[in-house]
Amino acid sequence: MRTLLLFLVLMGFWLLLSGQFDNTFLVVSGIVSCLLAVYCCHRLNLIGESYHPIESLPRFLFYLPWLVWQIVLASLDVTRRSWGTSSAIQPRLVKVPVKIRHPLAKTLLANSITLTPGTVTVDVAEDHYLVHALTEDAEKGVLDGSAERRVAPMVPGSDEEDPDLQTEASS
């Protein structure tokens, strides 16, 4: 199932970049190279069990508008500070505790924190992030964990350990 999905995505990318639908040689070579890539991924154990693209993707589409709105707010904020004087900022480093453990959810959360106003993720550790905040308001906003509550339902089982690591440890 996952393998088929990977093949379809790769094939779509190939067709998008080549733009040739009627040249038989190019289409066939595209299919062959996509199959080769899928085979290599299979051999390298890159097709893990920890991602559920079919369940996560619709939830991600609901999450996207909120993220875009945050980006707009963040850009307006940063633009105002760029044209103003440098005394308008009081930067500080904040340690933010996080509960989610799933690698995909952690990556999404780190990216979301970077894109929300006034905060940039500096370091990701086991149970906390190091976040650089521009102002005190931004610090409060990231500490109340609203981003985490939005990211967590997107990935099923996001507060558990990485399933791939568990299977490796048990086998």
Binding site: V78, S82, S86, V120, V122
Partner: protein, 116 residues
Amino acid sequence: MMEHVAHGLMILGGFFAFSGSLGILRMPDFYSRLHPAGTADTLGQMLVFAGLALKVIAVSLAEEAPVDGLSIGKLIAISLLLFVTTPASTHAIARAAQLGGLKPWTGEKEREDADE
């Protein structure tokens, strides 16, 4: 009508990209320079590519030619690619600087180091 919206989006995106760079030039220390690089660039890029895609659609509708779906697909692909990689590279640079032992500038010393 659609063309005017496309033009507006493009100019707005250009403005955001420009002020992002201005922020990089004017911010006082390295960690605060990350903020314009991560956010303003992302928004500017998204607006410019949305404007371009809209413009392609508007022009082909005005000339009653078939819409060039391939170009629009490529524009969306570039936009998504930048949307994923810009925060990631910002984060990579920040982490490298933090491991390299760069200390953040915390403004005037009147604020005590309470949150360390």
